[in-house]
């Protein structure tokens, strides 16, 4: 038992690795805000393409969502980070992560938006446009608020997944939370920094997971 505590909950080592982990947390938060924001915007456009009356646009957006939902995010990340330099395109780890996860997330967000947009009755579009609102105004002021409210739990649970996903950035040595924890582990030969990183993620995400469950129960009732 002592060995276990010493290896996984070593307060001394945790305290020493704390500054490094906070630095990593800051990078994780930056990554999250970039990927979530871009994903939410990109996903909306893909979803609108999916609902379009032009067939080619529909096909492209369906192909896009299926393609990027079929590829594991890590494969996408490695392909962009390690593969593109072969074609003469060199990008920073941060940009590689943002691009890879944007492709992945915007497809997931797009599917959620799509469900939301379908849930808004067609009459709403027609009514809003008959009052003289343009299609874009109708979307922004009438349809989107209702659509988003209807799929809020799914948007939220997808966002939780995005935050968890950023931990993959450690694989390409971007010094975010998990990477820094791994560094601290290899210097100290002790898993406590990793456990501390896990605690960081729990503090960050447990409230959101609870909220998702809460929403889902309320919708079911």
């Amino acid at each position: 038992m002592d060995i276990f505590i010493d290896q996984f909950f070593n307060i001394d080592i945790m305290r020493k690795s704390l500054p490094l982990l906070f630095k990593g947390l800051w990078m994780t938060l930056q990554l999250c805000s970039a990927v979530i924001l871009l994903g939410l915007i990109g996903g909306l456009f893909v979803a609108l393409g999916n609902m379009s009356e032009r067939r080619w646009l529909r096909w492209i957006s369906i192909a896009y969502t299926d393609l990027f939902r079929a590829l594991p995010p890590l494969v996408l990340l490695i392909f962009i980070y390690a593969g593109l330099p072969f074609a003469g395109i060199n990008i920073s780890p941060f940009a590689a992560v943002v691009i890879a996860f944007l492709l992945n997330n915007s497809s997931y967000y797009a599917e959620v938006y799509r469900a939301g947009l379908i849930s808004v009755a067609k009459g709403q579009w027609e009514a809003a446009q008959s009052t003289g609102l343009s299609p874009v105004q109708t979307l922004i002021h009438v349809v989107l608020p209702q659509a988003v409210r209807n799929v809020l739990p799914d948007l939220l649970s997808n966002t939780v997944e995005v935050v968890k996903l950023t931990s993959l950035a450690s694989v390409i040595s971007l010094s975010e939370l998990l990477y820094n924890a791994g560094m601290a582990r290899s210097v100290t030969y002790n898993a406590s920094p990793l456990v501390l990183a896990a605690l960081f993620y729990l503090v960050l995400l447990w409230p959101l997971v609870r909220l998702v469950s809460h929403f889902q129960r309320r919708l079911a009732a």
């Binding site: 490695i78 968890k164 998990l178 990793l194 456990v195 896990a198 129960r217």
Partner: protein, 224 residues
């Protein structure tokens, strides 16, 4: 254009590393199958246990499901792989990958099945028990079939998301598709193996994505 093809679709490199990639596909499929079976079985068992309403037990189940839904799997993988040997538990890379992904899937599956159980009306439980079925048989014959039908679309999506995470094995040296590809890439100095891994994943997962889409559209249609 020629250079592009030469870099990403080099036929010589392809021929040379196809056996490695195929071996990787085999590893990926084996681990994925084990994760799906164990994860769904454990999740279903937890949801059934939870429906008995034993307070202390439910608290533990909820904590477990919350924690494994909140933690990035890669963090748990690294803790098991690098931390456990120092307390005398040696786990192989594939074993760690299997345990962590199955545990993660179990947490999500538990929540999905539980949502299914919750949506079965109270009257049905009471009717089942009133006909003398008893709680366990009401659970098995009345609630479960309905819960499973409701759970299917979200479960398929989740299974898909988690089996894709077998790629995380490349971080701990499991020779699945991605790690065979990156190894081949560094040996050959060509990006072609990476292209091959992308194609391999598409061949495996694209049909699953299409099936998931079909399942969802079918249930959405029924709801109306």
């Amino acid at each position: 254009m020629d250079r592009f093809l030469e870099t990403f679709f080099n036929p010589v490199v392809m021929a040379q590393y196809t056996p490695d990639i195929i071996a990787g596909i085999w590893v990926t499929l084996t681990i994925a199958a084990a994760v799906i079976v164990a994860g769904i079985a454990a999740g279903l068992a937890l949801a059934c246990l939870r429906s008995y309403g034993i307070r202390a037990l439910n608290f533990l189940i909820i904590c477990y499901a919350d924690i494994f839904r909140a933690l990035p799997p890669l963090v748990v993988i690294l803790i098991l792989y690098f931390g456990f040997p120092s307390i005398g538990i040696q786990l192989s890379g594939p074993m760690v990958l299997f345990i962590v992904l199955a545990a993660t899937l179990a947490a999500f599956a538990e929540e999905i099945f539980w949502a299914g159980f919750s949506s079965v009306e109270k009257g049905q439980w009471e009717a089942g028990i009133a006909t003398g079925l008893g709680f366990t048989r009401t659970l098995a014959y009345v609630a479960l079939p309905q819960a499973v039908r409701l759970a299917l679309p979200p479960l398929v999506n989740r299974v898909l998301a988690i089996t894709k995470m077998t790629a995380l094995g490349s971080a701990i040296g499991v020779s699945e598709i991605l790690s065979s590809a990156t190894t081949a890439q560094s040996f050959s100095g060509s990006a072609t193996p990476l292209t091959m891994s992308v194609v391999a994943y598409l061949v495996i997962f694209l049909p699953m994505v299409v099936i998931a889409r079909w399942l969802e559209s079918r249930t959405a249609w029924k709801k109306r």
